[in-house]
Symmetry: C2
Subunit: 261 residues, 2 copies
């Protein structure tokens, strides 16, 4: 499975043969968060991404409402079928989890793709840094913070962050590496005291799983792609779609192409 | 005084009209730490700098023993007269502080110039960050650590660090900015718990002055140019010369030229 190309993975999603977590698949290639929103709200959402590039780094946006392709990111893409699993929301509530959007698709839906931490985690691992959630084989811990995003139209909310514990010298190196990748959340937004950004209990993440913080380590916090999902949920849109957590779009873009330096 | 060019400042040092601290002079231009060592130890010292580039970033080295010029760093330089104040050491002991080396100069002396934190402090200030020792008008606090340098011949010792307290988000920005300037100590080497690098009391620096650490701030530690001075002192050379603390060589090189990105 790990040896498949992004195109092959998308084809297996399309045929229904693959409907699982994409973590670890197609090493070297960018995986993306996805949000699909009615055109009436698309301009607001685009502005929200523009105002909040660290949690909402926009990798791509469909050229027009109803378009199911994004040729700059994935060859022969059909966004309705080429992710393993989707979540459907009505009035802000999760109503269904499906592997195919064909029956719910509408001509007014606009697709947004947003950078994901998998890309910078790969760069950190390649440098020899340990990533605790990978070592402990759990989801990265994520927390709601008191850092307000800049609102845009119907979209507002506080930033969600992911956390990876590191020794300070490793955290400094991670800041350097992640600074090269602004389209996948870039440098961390905070380290150290969780309470300084409104996190009450580091051992009780709001999403994902707690990880061990060893003596001498500090929690390091990155802006997280769950932020736009929270902003969308806050907006209680009559209809919207996201990927299921961890079930990302595997694109044809290499992670290396996202490095600005 | 602040409006003088580096060349004019060096000429005033040469004539004896200026013999003070160079902090704040010739904004935008690189100031350098200086070490003058007998040729017998020069190869060892060069290797020590090579092994320990963060505390000992070599900006320049005289082309041959006895040479008093470094044309790549300063026009018409006479290293014996063009710094405001020098310290002379014999067998590891400070024996004299002078404003002119002409009478003690020897044909076997080799000059080394090493990057100084003034350059990155300027870049941090230009970005809008506060530097506490500048705000409080004191010398930056410096500490001996338990981080061992890699020894080279007669030179060995632990790293000395300078400390600037910052909020974590500012520290992350400072790491990004300083990473662009490897020749002036580069990114910090540590932040947070002083004990992790062998510092017992953050309020009792080994050199310089203590500064206020406000609630929500963490101490951020940079490799410091005092490190090679300690290594030279440890070697108890029969003879060597350094600049007096804060009385640097003002070069013709702009700080901007040191940016690798």
């Amino acid at each position: 499975m790990q040896q498949l190309t992004p195109y092959q993975i998308r084809q297996l999603c399309r045929s229904g043969e693959f409907a699982s977590n994409t973590s670890g698949l197609a090493p070297g290639f960018v995986q993306a968060n996805m949000a699909i929103i009615p055109a009436a709200y698309a301009a607001d959402f685009l502005q929200f991404c523009h105002f909040n590039p660290k949690p909402c780094p926009l990798l791509g946006m469909a050229a027009r409402p109803g378009a199911v392709d994004l040729p700059q990111l994935a060859q022969d893409l059909d966004i309705r079928t080429d992710l393993p699993r989707y979540r459907i929301f009505r009035h802000g509530e999760l109503v269904d989890e499906v592997t195919d959007l064909t029956t719910v698709w509408r001509d007014d839906l606009v697709t947004f793709l947003i950078g994901c931490s998998f890309s910078f985690e790969e760069a950190l691992l390649a440098d020899g840094l340990e990533i605790r959630n990978i070592t402990e084989r759990v989801n990265v811990p994520m927390y709601r913070t008191n850092l307000a995003c800049q609102s845009a139209g119907v979209f507002s909310g506080n930033m969600v962050v992911s956390m990876r514990p590191m020794k300070p010298a490793d955290a400094i190196r991670a800041i350097q590496i992640c600074s090269r990748f602004p389209q996948v959340h870039g440098a961390p937004v905070h380290f150290g005291d969780p309470a300084a950004i409104g996190i009450r209990d580091i051992n009780q993440p709001d999403y994902g799983d707690a990880v061990t913080i060893k003596p001498g380590e500090v929690p390091v916090f990155w802006a997280c792609g769950v932020t736009p999902q929270v902003a969308i949920a806050n907006a209680k849109l009559d209809f919207c779609i996201s990927h299921a957590p961890g079930h990302m779009l595997v694109t044809d873009l290499t992670n290396s192409k996202l490095a600005v330096l």
